[in-house]
């Protein structure tokens, strides 16, 4: 009986196997179809769930230990940052607007992904896949909460953060993110895993949490940086699981291939349409630059995706349909996005500004093919108007794409001249899209996308009894955004004057002298 005492320590794989395998049983008092009611309607065929392998092999004890270690450090940094008034040590108060955008757009998105993953974590019939999904679900909650905690100290001293979840729900300019999250939440347990772990996290999430966080570090934001980096370290696991999931689906049945390809096409593009926000964070909103959006795209998207899809080709999966168009946009995306936000700066919940001359020169050096030709003239014109006391405001209601809900601000791929329009007639009604990809997404599932509540339309519904001079701004004010305090021009704003009064950003001014 001493055999038990002599037991050898199990290696990583066998330990994981032993601790997770076979917890599930085939139910008999209730049918498996009732226990897993959403397993079939998406049309995915799984022949053998045991083929699903989690590449990270973490048991809960290991996970608790490792995550608690991360969080102990991280919250120590957040505490120190708050105790030392770290918020006045950032490079420039303009930087804080990047924090606002992350809090408004991405903390709530991560929250929604958390709930969606719980749906998969309950409903995928495979036990290992479910465990992977629930770890991801819990970590998305972690990321959302971390972001809120990292931003908490800023909210006490700066405007534009105090009602972020509400703005996320309804503000027109956050609709691309909200509709993305709702699109995922309304999908089945298989599609949403592909959407989150593969479409967003594997293909595009690095661009948000790696180069931008590096830039945040450069700007003295020691609160958001560890939160961002630490979140992305969880996401490395999600990415591995996402790729494993896609391979698994492709291998289980050749009939899955067409469905998975359609999902990959759709979710790459849906995720890509969040990138205008990320691109402008990097190119316009961090005062001390590390690198450009285009460089990030090359490093963290183009190179890895080329490698990844070379690997996936034998499984029958092609690069997403929008790949060429997305790559062609890298010279334009951040500029078109900032231009829109600047124009609508009175109807959002953060500040905008025209970059300084050194910043314009930097943009030119990073975008030699596009910036001077297409985008600098708008910015210099805005600067002139502002100098004359006539800051430009675009008082119109922006037309939005029916699918991604971005303003129709994108030009044809690789071109800076013509706005890209696509139109489909469906049941006697016209629907408009920003791109071939959004049009295809609609045509594949019109009954889903006709439901979209486009803000620029809803504002005008006859029951909204709301057609003032500037309906867009009124719609934002109705959400508790204080006009002129939470938004508008940065220069001369309360954030700007407070920061100066507090002696904030000394470091940078000294560096400039």
């Amino acid at each position: 009986m001493d055999k038990r005492v002599e037991k050898k320590k199990l290696d990583l794989s066998s330990r994981y196997q032993a601790l997770t395998q076979d917890l599930q049983w085939d139910t008999s008092y209730q049918s498996m179809d009732k226990v897993f009611p959403y397993a079939r309607y998406e049309g995915i065929r799984i022949n053998d769930w045991s083929q699903w392998q989690d590449p990270f092999k973490m048991t809960l004890d290991v996970w608790w230990r490792q995550q608690s270690e991360k969080d102990r450090r991280l919250y120590a940094v957040l505490d120190a940052f708050a105790q030392n008034n770290g918020q006045i040590g950032v490079s420039d108060a303009r930087y804080v607007n990047a924090v606002k955008l992350v809090l408004q757009a991405f903390a709530p998105m991560k929250y929604a992904l958390h709930r969606s993953l719980a749906h998969s974590a309950r409903n995928l019939p495979g036990d290992a896949a479910r465990i992977a999904a629930q770890i991801q679900a819990t970590e998305q909650l972690r990321h959302s909460q971390l972001t809120v905690h990292a931003a908490s100290v800023y909210n006490k001293y700066f405007n534009g953060m105090h009602a972020a979840p509400r703005w996320h729900e309804q503000a027109w300019y956050l609709a691309p993110v909200k509709s993305f999250a709702d699109d995922i939440a309304s999908a089945g347990p298989f599609e949403l895993m592909v959407a989150i772990s593969f479409g967003f996290e594997t293909l595009l999430s690095d661009t948000l949490y790696v180069p931008f966080m590096s830039a945040a570090a450069h700007n003295g934001d020691l609160s958001m940086v560890p939160a961002g980096f630490s979140s992305q370290s969880d996401v490395t696991r999600h990415k591995q699981a996402g790729t494993a999931m896609v391979k698994f689906l492709l291998q289980q049945d050749s009939l899955n291939i067409a469905t998975v390809q359609r999902w990959v096409d759709k979710w790459f593009w849906r995720s890509f349409r969040l990138m205008p926000l990320v691109a402008m964070l990097q190119d316009y909103m961090v005062p001390k630059r590390v690198g450009s959006w285009k460089e990030s795209w090359n490093t963290f998207v183009e190179a890895p995706i080329n490698a990844l899809f070379a690997e996936l080709a034998p499984y029958g999966l092609k690069k997403p349909a929008g790949w060429q168009a997305a790559c062609a946009a890298k010279d334009h995306l951040s500029h078109q996005s900032w231009n829109a936000f600047y124009g609508y700066g009175h109807a959002i919940a953060f500040h905008t500004w025209v970059p300084g001359n050194d910043e314009l020169a930097w943009l030119d050096s990073k975008y030699p093919n596009s910036f001077d030709r297409w985008y600098r003239p708008r910015l210099t014109h805005y600067a002139q108007l502002e100098a004359a006391g006539k800051r430009f405001h675009n008082h119109s209601l922006p037309m939005q794409c029916q699918v991604c809900q971005q303003p129709m601000m994108f030009t044809e791929p690789g071109d800076g001249r013509w706005i890209s329009y696509r139109e489909t007639r469906h049941e006697e009604e016209s629907f408009h899209f920003c791109s071939d990809q959004c049009q295809t997404i609609f045509s594949n599932e019109p009954d889903k996308y006709v439901q979209a509540q486009l803000a620029s339309h809803t504002i005008l519904h006859s029951n909204s009894n709301n057609t003032p001079e500037d309906a867009l701004q009124a719609s934002i004010a109705a959400l508790g955004v204080v006009i002129g305090r939470d938004n508008g021009e940065f220069h001369g704003s309360e954030d700007d004057t407070n920061f100066t009064e507090w002696g904030g950003g000394q470091d940078m001014k000294e560096a400039q002298l």
């Binding site: 030709r373 297409w374 708008r378 119109s396 030009t411 001249r417 016209s430 029951n463």
Partner: protein
């Protein structure tokens, strides 16, 4: 294709004309992206093209330095992708516009701020 769903999944479009006091028209000035996106304008379809030009377009775009330089006789007009020649007294409906149509106009020679399409 239809949506894969567990039950019936059909919904009426959210933005049909009956939901609005006036039909919606999307309006854009090509090669002038200082106005980042086309505008959504609620407007009666019996509005004349003269009024569209004098009231709607002026209200939307007069802030642009090119606007006062427009030679209206040279302007090219589009309903969606279809080019048309407006009759000042003809209405939007006469020219084929309806709820959620796109009205674009192009001003040859005027290509935005420093010809940047801005």
């Amino acid at each position: 294709m239809s949506v894969s769903a567990i039950g019936a999944y059909t919904y009426a479009p959210h933005d049909t004309a009956d939901r609005f006091a006036a039909p919606l028209l999307y309006v854009a000035w090509d090669e002038h992206m200082m106005f980042a996106a086309p505008a959504v304008v609620p407007i009666a379809m019996d509005t004349t093209m003269a009024d569209v030009q004098a009231k709607v377009l002026a209200a939307l775009y007069s802030a642009h330095p090119d606007f006062e330089r427009i030679q209206w006789t040279r302007v090219q007009w589009f309903c969606g992708d279809r080019m048309f020649t407006p009759q000042p007294n003809a209405t939007l409906a006469d020219h084929g516009f309806k709820h959620k149509s796109v009205l674009r106009f192009r001003t040859p020679g005027l290509e935005g701020l420093r010809r940047s399409c801005g």
